[in-house]
Point group: C2
Chain length 384, copies 2
């Protein structure tokens, strides 16, 4: 079978960047699909012996694809074109995609090259063939069914559906980002959003054991789901014994500061891992006001000591929007498995942190030294 | 008229925070609508003499509202309930919202208080009244038309539609954010997203005149559109003579560094304005990979000298998604008015900035001193 694969924003970049992005997109697809590509000035045609189901499964998970279409082709000759329409129409009627008794239709024709007919004339001709077969009604502005005819020199391609892809940019076309992942609902979605814009993701789970339990298994499952959308690029997962830092915080700092200091330490730990992995940014699942502690002042105080950019792609999303994405990508079910939460959370966590106060406490507890000890415990987890 | 006004996430907060948020939501609505509220354990009933159109206009622009419904009420008595249904049904048929010949229907009943009937019994009773009037078919799982009956003690409310609101949190329930606004498509959308999560927005336009032209008028129009969604809270707009900093950059730094140094200066300028205004964060319209210069390395290098959190709510959005929001909120048309772009952009802008190199150039050009001069030119612009 053959397919047109359409990308979006890649097309508006300079020729050099476009070429690089196209290559990345094709390589990513090839990593999971035995196939070949023909690249005709940005029109990618995928050729494969694999089943339609397999192709649909892979293309639905590859970032950078705006839409794709199974195509059939013939040579640019009216007789041949008519023959192909005679093959296609009974098939789509059979598959329930077109009901000529009820549905209106249109033919849309695009053309590249020199021909003795215009695109509109060819559309009219193809439409008349469809009417001969079905007697269906034409509606050019809002048809129920569309037959797309694309003529490139002496080749003519036809398709009847544009199946939407995920959009975004090909994974690996941008650099690496360390994504904090907690086992909850939000952080896997944030990681997914970073994949969407072409980043390689390095997941970091700060394991708060003994204050949290059974999170690693959950995180591993979430990483496996994320891997499905990182077609062509291996997702890395690290854990770290963050509980030992948290124990120090609980012993040394005022109780209300526990969560602020925990988050502050996580960002710096993520930055440390980023340095090892040549990543240039951190991402997390923060959303303003979602919980009492996600105030602007807390966010400011927890990020101050981290000198690397922190992306929070969910910062302006409602919980219900985040949950919808989590359900779509299949991380939601794992996220909601009860794990008892974190027992280190104090009765009254700080919700209005003062930057100076937090920075003083950070100095008081020798945060940097304690974190440096923790950094010896980075462990890579195999997610296969 | 009376309306149920439903909020979302506010409901899951602690009673104290919930009360504060509810008050903010009601105050915001009251700022544009002559009305009163009844707050019955989180069920907000809005009472007003204003027209339905006016109410719809205001409620469609207020963040924190998940949905609202025009309601009618009677006392909890089967006769009276039947009478009200006899009033409602011909009206909705007349308005084209219910076509009993074609549409199926359902009655959904909720009940608070002690009654000698269950919710289900009342739904059944109301359904039989509807059938008496219309002879329409019942479909409980997927009805075309729904009559909602809500019984609270001796009062019974009915409504037939739930009109979706914007979601988010009430503007002003969170702190203030300085939003960089450039006159382009992305930055007004980013500002809108910050309003969505309850932040007060302070817009900052770094005016690059003489390298850019006519941007202030565009930005003012965009600010006016944003004000429509900041119901109850005045949007502030500042400009600054950033061109004088840029002139210095062009004279002193390598040409390829112009854009990186421009953005770096903007973030620090935004942080300065934030300090004056007790804001705790900055927001901008960055989206990874959207243009050649929005690489992770450029983002890292431009943000390093800014110690305040920078939110980029569009960081993971595709251009087409950003444009869709811009069209919805009405900033798109202004954004695309041609303004000639920025003439300071070099032929080959840096796309892969090295942090150390950029930091050295920042020192070489005495960035801090030059920025401090520019900071004398903050000007507040009236957007009315």
């Amino acid at each position: 079978m053959e397919y047109f694969v359409r990308y979006g924003e890649i097309g508006i970049k300079s020729p050099k960047i476009r070429h690089k992005f196209e290559k990345r997109l094709m390589d990513n697809i090839k990593s999971e699909l035995e196939c070949e590509f023909e690249n005709n000035q940005g029109r990618l045609t995928l050729k494969t012996e694999e089943t339609n189901e397999k192709v649909a499964d892979v293309l639905s998970r590859v970032f950078g694809i705006v839409s794709y279409s199974p195509i059939t082709q013939t040579i640019t000759d009216k007789e041949k074109i008519s023959e192909l329409i005679h093959e296609i129409i009974p098939k789509v009627i059979d598959e329930g995609k077109f009901n000529p008794q009820k549905d209106t239709f249109a033919v849309k024709c695009r053309r590249v090259g020199n021909h003795d007919f215009s695109s509109q004339e060819m559309a009219g001709y193809c439409g008349s063939v469809v009417i001969d077969i079905t007697n269906a009604k034409v509606d050019l502005s809002n048809p129920d069914f569309t037959l797309y005819v694309e003529i490139r020199e002496n080749k003519t391609y036809m398709f009847t559906e544009k199946i939407p892809g995920l959009g975004g940019l090909p994974v690996g076309s941008q650099g690496s980002v360390v994504c904090l992942i907690s086992s909850g609902i939000d952080s896997p979605v944030a990681s997914f959003q970073m994949l969407k814009r072409g980043c390689k993701i390095i997941l970091l789970h700060c394991d708060n054991n003994p204050y949290t339990k059974n999170t690693i298994e959950k995180v591993k499952k979430q990483a496996q789901r994320l891997q499905r959308y990182s077609v062509g690029v291996k997702v890395k997962l690290y854990t770290i014994n963050f509980g030992q830092y948290l124990e120090h915080v609980i012993k040394q700092a005022p109780p209300r500061m526990t969560c602020v200091l925990c988050k502050s330490g996580m960002y710096q730990t993520a930055a440390q891992l980023a340095k090892f992995n040549h990543a240039n940014a951190i991402a997390d699942g923060s959303s303003i006001g979602q919980v009492a502690s996600q105030t602007l002042r807390n966010i400011e105080a927890t990020r101050y000591k981290c000198r690397m950019p922190i992306f929070s792609p969910l910062i302006s999303l409602d919980k219900i929007e985040i949950e919808a994405i989590a359900k779509t990508i299949g991380t939601y079910e794992t996220s909601i498995i009860p794990d008892g939460g974190c027992s280190a959370v104090p009765k009254y966590p700080e919700t209005n942190a003062e930057l100076d106060v937090v920075n003083n406490v950070i100095d008081d507890i020798n945060q940097k030294d304690v974190l440096e000890e923790v950094w010896n415990t980075f462990t890579k987890i195999d997610i296969d």
